[in-house]
């Protein structure tokens, strides 16, 4: 009797786990022993390789033994990782490995999906995110989010940027104006739009729209900025600008970024976490992960041999 492995379910909507791409068959040919991936595939316990230098950092977000279920299927498996304050941390891994799900767990955007259940906890600034008495709306105001596809609201550029303040009830024109300018400067788009703040946000180009969304995300001075593949819908030049922007922003905010693009992770992030099939595999300083990984799986992945 062969043990049945439950295939990851595909939810009809929402960012659930996508079916894993199996690049693993080719790995067998290399002859290297992949203990961790074997353990994951056989659903056996294993210890992720977390580099010690991270543990020494001051964490702003702490993920502790966190699991998430979409209905009966488990999308995140007992993930524990601290996110260092004031750094850029990137999440990499093949499609469907749960990077986005983990990201969305931090600001509880997964609540919008029916049948989501979690165990374990996530701490933001030492306070639990999933406690029953947490005000989700307040929580999300502390975590700005940028999405894969730019999603400016159907309103003017000005209103787009001050949206987080508006819904917070801020009505003073001067405050809104200051916040708008600060955020747009922060997102390096002020010079391009300062003369047309009252035009629709939809009239901008794709890259500008994404920077507008970043401006919106940082307008309320969040503690953590969550970015879900922010460049995947952009051309290389727009991507470059966003990456430069992330570098600038990281001096003021903690950034947690999901990316498909390993070069991007190498370029923009201080720390990198490699995930696979809902598990954290290896987590360490970006330089170590890319040049000196502890696990052969990580090396195979970052050099592009699978995934």
């Amino acid at each position: 009797m062969k043990p049945m492995t439950t295939p990851p379910a595909t939810p009809t909507h929402g960012p659930g786990p996508r079916p894993a791409e199996t690049g693993l068959e080719s790995l067998a040919a290399t002859g290297v022993q992949f203990t961790v991936i074997d353990a994951i595939r056989n659903n056996q316990p294993f210890t992720p390789a977390v580099h010690e230098t991270i543990l020494e950092q001051d964490p702003i977000v702490e993920v502790k033994d966190f699991s998430l279920y979409y209905g009966p299927s488990k999308a995140l498996h007992n993930i524990s990782m601290p996110i260092p304050r004031g750094k850029v941390t990137s999440l990499i891994g093949p499609s469907g490995c749960g990077k986005s799900t983990l990201l969305r767990s931090v600001n509880r955007l997964n609540d919008l999906i029916d049948n989501v259940r979690v165990t374990g906890e996530i701490l933001l600034e030492k306070s639990p995110v999933y406690a029953p008495n947490v005000d989700v709306i307040e929580l999300r105001k502390h975590t700005g989010m940028v999405f894969q596809k730019s999603n400016p609201f159907p309103m003017s550029i000005f209103e787009n940027v001050v949206y987080p303040l508006r819904i917070d009830g801020e009505k003073r024109k001067s405050v809104l104006k200051d916040a708008c300018e600060r955020a747009l400067r922060g997102a390096a788009i002020w010079d391009e739009v300062k003369d047309r703040l009252h035009q629709s946000g939809l009239s901008l180009s794709g890259g500008q729209q994404q920077r507008l969304c970043i401006a919106r995300a940082i307008a309320a001075e969040p503690e953590v900025l969550l970015m879900d593949e922010p460049c995947s819908a952009l051309d290389p030049i727009a991507t470059l600008r966003i990456e430069e922007l992330i570098n600038e922003i990281s001096q003021r905010f903690t950034v947690l970024i999901v990316t498909h693009n390993m070069q991007q992770a190498a370029r923009v992030s201080d720390y990198t976490a490699f995930m696979y099939l809902g598990r954290l595999v290896e987590y360490g300083p970006t330089a170590d992960i890319f040049q000196n990984p502890r696990l052969p799986e990580t090396e195979q992945y970052v050099t592009g041999r699978f995934g």
């Binding site: 909507h13 600001n107 509880r108 955007l109 609540d111 919008l112 029916d114 049948n115 989501v116 259940r117 979690v118 999933y130 029953p132 947490v134 989700v136 709306i137 307040e138 929580l139 999300r140 105001k141 975590t143 700005g144 989010m145 999405f147 596809k149 999603n151 609201f153 159907p154 309103m155 003017s156 949206y163 987080p164 508006r166 819904i167 917070d168 009252h198 035009q199 629709s200 946000g201 939809l202 009239s203 969304c213 919106r216 995300a217 309320a220 969550l226």
Partner: protein, 705 residues
């Protein structure tokens, strides 16, 4: 085998794709279907526009002399061939044999043609339309100065204007005393002929003096317009006094009566003291006496104007019997008043510009005036106004209701079997025949809700039972709130069975509370209605604008719900997530992101609802539309807008004019014109909404401000 290979390859090369596979016939078929549809629509529109626009064009007046020597004037309406039999056939054959058949009197197949003439003059001829066989016409001319009068009553009069007369009733001379029977007098510096005669009236004989201000067709037509303007002014003044001023006084008297009646009812219930009743009676009598004095004053003023108006007469004679247009059917020997004329059209004297002037003047009256002659003539302004008002009211009722319902269905309700069932039911509601809504509206809105508003509950609970119910309602509400609080969802955790059960119980308690609330309202011993003093004649408990618009709102609700649901579900998920990511609550997201973005789609629903509602007739016949209600539902008196009044509606008006009119030949063109007007109004309403939608779409969807 080897030899056949190049052959089959050759065959493959020359083989063409069959026609059926290329689908060419389908292109023809689909194109042809589209063409048929377009042709039908274009045909309908052309028919309506041509017929509707032609109604007010004034043709020339014919004077025709028949074989029997009778001479009549009339306006040609249309011609058709018919089958002659008996003596007529023999006559025709004889005429052909003698070669005296006039040109064009027979059609290509040799059948005789006949022409329908509008001859008017109902008092003289009885039937205002007459078929005339063309072969029978001995002489046909278009005499100068022949005039068609549109009168306020009794249809048109066609004849020759003979004179404008200033008629006075002088005291009769004593028996046997002589008086001049004819003479001259000076009016406006010109000498005019005068006749005098003794005329009997109800108050004894008077000396009737007639001054012939203008005589002869040419002279009359030269000054007619001037005198008609003055006559119109007198008529409008009289109309205002009789209809508006006296109407208001009557309304005030009625209000006073109702106020006192309400006091009597309260007194009978022991809720008013004897003194209050006496005071009320005194106040009523005082006020009614005052109003009656005012009434007498207005009547006196009206009588004065009427006496002046009665002096100005028009003599217009038809050629057949030589009769002039009478003041009324029962007094054939009195000339008609000038003020009875709405419009005098000397059709044969007018040049093209003049006829165009008449045409537009008639359109002006049609669009801006009141109906006359049982809707067979005059205008449709109240009809247009009420149709537009009804459509606007129904949109005001249906859009918020439909949008809110759709928001709950799409945003808040947990998608499952129940919601699917509700959705299917809503979709099916769109297919319910509209008359069913009419029956429901009449039964529920008019006879249940309206009667309740008028007279309070027909059966009331005793005070004790009612208060017990009230406490029950309070208790249920509190329990439901507690259940809702206890069973509130915990994030990240699916609800346990127990919590689910509590949530269900809470929901049931809310439903129970709502039912109990309705029962408490419907059985309240403390509410006696707003209009019970005027019972048994109903105020709200009958057909009315409010109930009609609510019924139509109900009828069009599914359209709005379906369109709104589609629009809401088309709002990209990324926008919602972006909003939530910024820390917006669900309601803030709906209010600031979803609704603006869905607004064009909601507008589409509204446009569909308006188009359907404005064109609906069947339910309106039950819940509000009537044949004649020339007053607008507004007044200068509280509450200014009277939604309980019944009203006129263009759709119903078309039915009424086209099929219920006593004079179908006269009103048939009006049916076309009204149809044209209805189409134009619906088009205007829709175009307004569509342009609004285009602006919303530019603003919220495509992003160009």
């Amino acid at each position: 085998m080897t030899t056949s290979t190049p052959q089959s390859e050759h065959q493959r090369r020359v083989r063409r794709t069959p026609l059926a596979a290329r689908g060419e016939p389908m292109v023809w078929l689909t194109g042809a279907c589209l063409c048929v549809c377009l042709l039908m629509i274009a045909g309908l529109l052309t028919a309506v526009v041509v017929q509707g626009a032609a109604t007010f064009w004034q043709p020339r007046i014919h004077r025709f002399t028949l074989a029997d020597g009778a001479t009549t004037m009339g306006v040609p309406v249309r011609e058709e061939p018919y089958t002659a039999i008996g003596q007529e056939l023999a006559d025709i054959e004889q005429m052909i044999a003698r070669d005296t058949m006039p040109q064009g009197a027979l059609d290509d197949e040799g059948r005789p043609m006949r022409r329908l003439y509008r001859v008017g003059n109902r008092e003289a001829y009885g039937d205002p339309f007459r078929w005339v066989s063309l072969y029978n016409i001995q002489r046909l001319e278009k005499p100068a100065h022949a005039t068609l009068l549109e009168r306020r009553e009794w249809g048109v009069w066609i004849g020759m204007p003979e004179a404008i007369v200033l008629q006075d009733a002088l005291p009769a001379p004593a028996e046997g005393e002589a008086f001049e029977e004819a003479g001259t007098a000076t009016v406006n510096g010109a000498p005019v002929r005068v006749t005098r005669e003794i005329a009997p009236t109800d108050d004894g004989p008077v000396l009737r003096e007639r001054k012939y201000i203008a005589e002869g067709p040419e002279a009359v037509l030269a000054v007619l317009d001037e005198y008609l303007d003055a006559a119109d002014e007198r008529w409008s003044r009289l109309y205002h006094l009789n209809e508006v001023v006296i109407g208001d006084i009557n309304h005030d008297i009625e209000k006073e009566r109702l106020r006192h009646r309400e006091m009597e009812l309260r007194h009978a219930e022991g809720r008013a003291t004897d003194e209050a009743l006496a005071r009320s009676l005194e106040r009523r009598d005082e006020r009614v006496a005052e109003l009656n004095r005012e009434y007498a004053k207005v009547r006196a003023e009206a009588a004065e104007i009427d006496a002046e108006d009665a002096r100005w007469r028009l003599v217009i004679t038809e050629p057949e019997q030589g009769r002039f247009a009478p003041i009324r059917q029962t007094e054939p020997d009195e000339f008609m008043r000038l003020s009875q004329v709405v419009r005098a059209v000397p059709a044969n004297d007018l040049d093209f510009a003049g006829r165009l002037g008449v045409y537009f003047s008639r359109w002006g009256e049609f669009v801006g005036g009141q109906p006359r002659e049982a809707n067979a003539a005059g205008g449709v302004f109240p009809v247009i106004f009420c149709t537009v008002l009804l459509t606007v009211l129904l949109s005001i009722f249906v859009v918020p209701l439909g949008v809110i319902a759709a928001l709950y269905l799409r945003e808040y309700a947990k998608q499952g079997v129940v919601v699917s069932a509700v959705r299917i039911a809503v979709n099916n509601l769109a297919g319910v025949p509209s008359i069913v809504y009419g029956v429901f509206g009449l039964g529920f809105f008019c006879y249940t809700l309206g009667r309740y508003i008028d007279g309070g509950p027909s059966v009331a609970w005793s005070n004790g039972v009612w208060f017990m119910g009230m406490f029950g309602l309070l208790g249920l509400t509190v329990l439901a709130v507690i259940a809702g609080y206890v069973a509130r969802p915990v994030p990240g955790q699916p609800p346990s069975r127990r919590m689910k059960a509590i949530a269900w119980a809470g929901g049931l308690m809310w439903i129970g509370a709502a039912g109990l609330l309705i029962a408490l309202l419907a059985r309240s011993p403390f509410f006696h209605g707003f209009n019970r003093a005027s019972l048994p004649s109903p105020t709200f408990g009958t057909k009315g604008l409010l109930w009609a618009s609510l019924t139509l709102a109900l009828l069009t609700l599914p359209v709005v719900i379906v369109a709104t649901e589609e629009a809401i579900s088309a709002v990209p998920r990324s926008l919602r997530e972006g909003s939530y990511g910024c820390g917006a609550s669900k309601w803030q997201t709906i209010q600031r992101i979803v609704l603006p973005r869905a607004a064009p789609g909601i507008m589409t629903g509204m446009i569909l609802a308006m188009a359907r509602g404005a064109g609906e007739v069947a339910p309106l016949m039950l819940v509000g539309a009537v044949k004649l209600a020339p007053d607008l539902p507004f007044s200068g008196r509280f509450p200014f807008i009277h939604l309980e009044k019944s009203f006129m509606h263009l759709g119903f008006h078309i039915y009424d004019v086209g099929f219920q009119s006593p004079d179908s030949e006269a009103s048939r063109p009006l049916a076309w014109t009204t149809t044209l007007l209805l189409i134009v109004i619906i088009a205007v309403l829709n175009l307004t909404a569509i342009s609004l939608r285009a602006r919303l779409r530019r603003r919220f969807v495509t992003g160009a401000f």
